[in-house]
Amino acid sequence: MTDSSVPASRNSGAFTPRRKLGRKLAPWLFLAPGMIMFLVYVIIPIGQSMWISFFQWDGLSPKSWVGIENYIELLDDEAFYTSLKNNVIWLVLYMLAIPFGLFIALFLNQTVRGIRIYKSLFFFPFVISQVVVGLIFSWFYAPGFGLLFELTKIFGGEGIAVLANPHTVTYGIIVAGLWPQIAYCMILYLTGLNAVAPDQIEAARLDGAKGIKMLWYVVLPQLRPATFIAVVVTVIGALRSFDLVSIMTDGGPFGSSRVLSYYMYEQALSEYGYRMGYGAAIAVVLFAIMMIFISGFIWKMWRDERGL
């Protein structure tokens, strides 16, 4: 990144005021389409959601102002705490995708005949739709005909129906979610591994480093950008987990696998919902949680860029 002000200042004497103005204006003109889009489709809706969260509204009748009543109700809502707890479980367990992805990437980072085929096979779950992933796993778990159910029946006598049990259901869904997420992290690390400097590996090897030590002290530090992106996508993925919950359980049994994003949808938009205000309040809470992470990420990126 070279300093653009250098050539400008050298030539500044040649500029007429009009061209100077053009220089100032041009970046904004180029940014404008993106900024307008961002404003209309991101910033304004965020504001609107917050505004709606202070109303009671069914989407049809006129809105009625209730102040922070929706938030007070949230505090006393079991389903909200279930969703929050599940979101935390998602967040923690989803992180497993990163070490697993790294492991598979290291494993696949070799030159064997046909390695491209293996790589694509490992990447496959990320390519297929989450809906398909959810369906495959719900059949896998299905009581009566699912593979897992039948296997546990053979070995344990009684089949385990993961998705029917409120204690196991969230974990069952997370496992399904990890499958594509691991593939995603793997591909991030595979590209990262391409950029690892071979001379450093060589040098480390001459110094006698190998195995875990080589990985920890030589390879991983070079993979830091890949790890950063993997953490970001995994955190965001965990927080906005929705498709799998919707496909596999509809939040059930009796609401025990809800997460915040699903609960928001249920309250605001589903067949039995249409409490726009309450749904918006949940959205605001989810947004606040996401903001903690997002600002953390942005702060780190900003710091890294200044460090350069």
Partner: protein
């Protein structure tokens, strides 16, 4: 498809020849009839209406059945058709209260519908006015596997006690007495509704779904006490099973009974059951002193407040209410007509259902998720699902529902 083509063609011809045939009026109908049988029924309905009213062209816009439930909220306010189909009971209440449906009491009055559609009058009435015209319903009840009954050596029960004692016999031969699949929640509500209708009766059930009775009431507990008797004999893990998958338990003889609506007959028959192996019975009696009430969800057509051609829309509703039209439409749908002068197809399940519904002196409920407001329905059905898995959570469930009731019915 043909209808669409004809409509498109007529529209095109109409547009080209506008000055010549200016009197051709258009009636826009939005429907969720996306499944084959309902779709055919609507095509038939529209063709019949157009034949009788050559100066009206009906434009049908068919939505996906599930997507329609969301779409209706948008199109009623944004781009309103002249006619839209929906459901009776509390399901139409939000639209009526928001002023989105036109009062069609005059159609009822002029065509004597209060008499001919009397069985659906109460479920179509809000604030003493009628808000749409019902055209079809179907019975709920217990569908059972006759072969399994023969194998266990038991007879069709008429009382709940007999039903439970049959369950012991089924258990001896390794068959689940009752099966269901509550992944989508609503199948559990069918069981609750019938237990409540049989234990406390129609009036109490309506008070409960209208939020006039606390969920912690002793009479509600009595319902769950009856339910608890059958829980040990019910299939396991039903919370993770779709209703269609549970139907295969009946087909394969792994379970004996299934509380379901008549639409499930097609699923049972697809699985290989016939009129000889599939049986239907009315839900057994619990309290013999209570007038027998039944459950029959009703489908309706309404005129949205934003309709442009209200006059022809009312003509269409009057046509829809006619006995001969309802006979024909329901023959295609495989369901029951509401008009009491209509004829029922010769399908044994429809015949039985018609008999059961037309002799129900207690009243006809619409189903829990149509009788109760949407949020209460959702919370209630989750409670039922939880109760089936953990009967000992009953106190917590009822307290939660009571808390919901106090909030939901507040305004």
């Amino acid at each position: 498809m043909n209808i669409l083509k004809t409509t498109a063609l007529t529209a095109l011809v109409g547009a080209l020849a506008m000055p010549a045939m200016a009197e051709q009026r258009v009636l826009k109908l939005f429907t969720d009839a996306s499944d084959p049988a309902p779709k055919a029924a609507f095509e038939q309905l529209v063709a019949g209406f157009e034949a009788e009213n050559p100066d009206v062209t009906v434009e049908v816009n068919t939505f996906d059945h599930e997507g329609y439930k969301t779409a209706i909220r948008n199109f009623l306010t944004a781009d309103s058709p002249d006619l839209a189909n929906w459901y009776a009971g509390n399901r139409m209440a939000p639209f009526v209260k928001a002023g989105q449906f036109v009062d069609v009491s005059d159609v009822w009055e002029e065509n004597g519908l209060k008499d001919s559609l009397s069985s659906a009058l109460s479920s179509m009435t809000i604030d003493g006015k009628q808000w749409g015209v019902p055209y079809t319903y179907y019975q709920w009840g217990i569908y059972y596997n006759k072969d399994v009954y023969a194998k266990a050596g038991v007879e069709e029960p008429t009382t709940w006690d007999e039903f439970i004692s049959n369950c012991e016999k089924f258990q001896e031969i390794g068959v689940d007495c009752l099966t269901t699949g509550t992944k989508a929640l609503w199948p559990a509500a069918g069981i609750f509704d019938y237990l409540d209708l049989r234990t406390n009766g129609y009036d109490f059930h309506m008070q409960l779904t209208n939020g006039e009775v606390p969920w912690t009431d002793e009479r509600v507990r009595n319902v769950f006490a009856e339910w608890a008797k059958v829980v040990p004999y019910t299939s396991k893990n039903v919370a993770a099973i779709d209703w269609q998958d549970a139907a295969s338990n009946i087909v394969q003889g792994k379970a004996a009974n299934y509380v379901m609506g008549n639409f499930a007959v097609a699923t049972f028959k697809d699985g290989g059951m016939t009129n000889d192996t599939l049986g239907f019975m009315d839900f057994p009696t619990i309290n013999p002193n209570i007038p027998r009430a039944e459950e029959a969800p009703t489908d309706t057509i309404h005129i949205p407040a934003g309709a442009k051609n209200v006059e022809d829309a009312k003509k269409f509703l009057a046509y829809l209410a006619r006995a001969d039209v309802q006979s024909a439409v329901n023959a295609t749908l495989g369901q029951l007509p509401i008009n009491k002068n209509s004829e029922v197809g010769d399908d044994p399940f429809l015949q039985q259902g018609f008999e059961v519904l037309s002799t129900a002196e207690g009243g006809i409920a619409q189903f829990f998720d149509r009788d109760a407001p949407a949020q209460m329905a959702k919370a209630g059905m989750e409670g039922f699902q939880e109760f089936m898995a953990y009967p000992d959570h009953l106190d917590a469930i009822l307290e939660r529902l009571e808390k919901m009731r106090q909030r939901i019915y507040k305004d």
